[in-house]
Amino acid sequence: MAADVRPLRRRSRHDAVIASEPDNTLEAVVRRVAHGDESAFERLYDDVSGAVFGLIRRVLRDPAQAEEVTQEVFVEVWRTATRFDARKGSARTWILTMAHRRAVDRVRSAQATHDREDTVAAREQVRVFDEVAEEVELRLEQQQVHHCLGTLTELQRESVTLAFYGGYTYPEVATLLGAPLGTVKTRMRDGLIRLRDCLGVTR
């Protein structure tokens, strides 16, 4: 009935590409993590834990929950490093995408419970919206990002920051801003394209 299973470790088809990568890129670190290298993982943690924790805390606000989700994200990074695919973006983006997704999943599963209970949710959201907006003003010291967000129209900027830092869906953002659904959706895209071009990022 019982059996051993030892999955075959295979060299990646991208080894040729890896070999030419400088060893200190986060991508190379993730590949070492994929081989079970714990010291590479420590390095990865030290490199991205500030951004992971900060982003999750920004979305969830509660530091205890943010810690919990941060821990889950890093264990997930460890488990799935074997499946990182550099063609789909940088290692940093891979990790932070995972972090953001986990944070909003947490918000939305908590919210699903709340929504059934009460209509106070709507009033609550407006209050949170004010806090998010305020905090974005306060905390975007990182000059370039701050500067580039400043090049967006107000509706673009609010759509992007409420979605990303606030963890709201675009229909929620549309309600908060009193704007039509389709408009908010396209403003989100237009705003991010403008941000991308201003920051000069391609991947």
């Binding site: 299973v5 295979r10 799935t80 695919d85 972090a99």
Partner: protein, 239 residues
């Protein structure tokens, strides 16, 4: 499909789509390289926004994460001719449970491939793999995981009165001893087989009911009719 699906990339990249639309866009991305590339770029821009929000995590978190990682098995890589579509969707779209289920499935399939030498064994193994797979793939399955007191981790997946027990990272036991699996109900235990000598194991546990637990003990080689040592772990079925 909405006509303006190409304009959904921003909301998709920022995780701002409601679930139904998110799936629609994911399907679209598989067929639209322009949108897929745009999502990569917009996510890179969002990464900069994430960096701008960075703040130091509590120092104690580092040790907790590292301890967790030390006892967590990594997923096997995706094998075979790279279907980059399917691949990207694993880590963009997969929930942890889907990813775990996929890993289990891969493990089970390798079980079918690795184990068998003779035809009747093959048939038996196929039957076993089919049963294990049907439990793991049931959307209504209940999954419970717990650590063994001596190290390693056990997971019980239950579906319609059948369970699969999966063990990983088991420390080896002395050659005169073996891990044995039990179905335990109050005042009663029945053997569900031995776990073999590997670090991981998969066992089909038929006929489990509400209130049952699955337990693991260390027994003399060959196994015991009843447990002779305290369980290293007991995992309730279907909770």
């Amino acid at each position: 499909m909405s006509p303006d699906i190409h304009t959904s990339t921003g909301a998709y990249a920022a995780d701002a789509l409601p679930p139904a639309e998110r799936e629609e866009v994911e399907q679209h991305l598989a067929d639209c390289p322009a949108c897929a590339q745009e999502v990569i770029e917009l996510r890179a821009a969002l990464t900069r926004m994430a960096d701008a929000a960075a703040e130091p995590p509590p120092p104690a978190l580092r040790a907790r994460v590292l301890a967790d990682v030390r006892r967590t098995r990594q997923l096997p890589p995706v094998l075979g001719p790279g279907d980059s579509r399917g691949r990207s969707r694993w880590w963009w779209a997969g929930t942890p449970l889907q990813i775990a289920a996929a890993a289990l499935l891969i493990a089970v399939v390798s079980l079918g491939v690795l184990l068998v030498q003779r035809q009747h064994q093959l048939d038996e193994q196929r039957q076993l793999v089919a049963e294990i797979t049907s439990v793991l793939n049931d959307p209504g399955r209940a999954v419970t995981t717990a650590d063994l007191a001596s190290g390693g981790r056990g997971t019980v997946v239950e579906s319609h009165g059948q369970a699969v027990f999966l063990a990983s990272d088991l420390p080896s036991v002395a050659s005169a001893r073996t891990y044995q699996l039990w179905v335990m109900s109050p005042g009663h235990a029945r053997s569900a087989g031995l776990l073999g000598r590997g670090k991981s194991a998969q066992v089909l546990v038929p006929a489990v009911g509400p209130g049952d637990s699955v337990g693991v003990t260390v027994e003399p080689a060959g196994g015991s009719p009843q447990p002779t040592t305290a369980p290293l772990v007991t995992i309730p079925v279907g909770s």
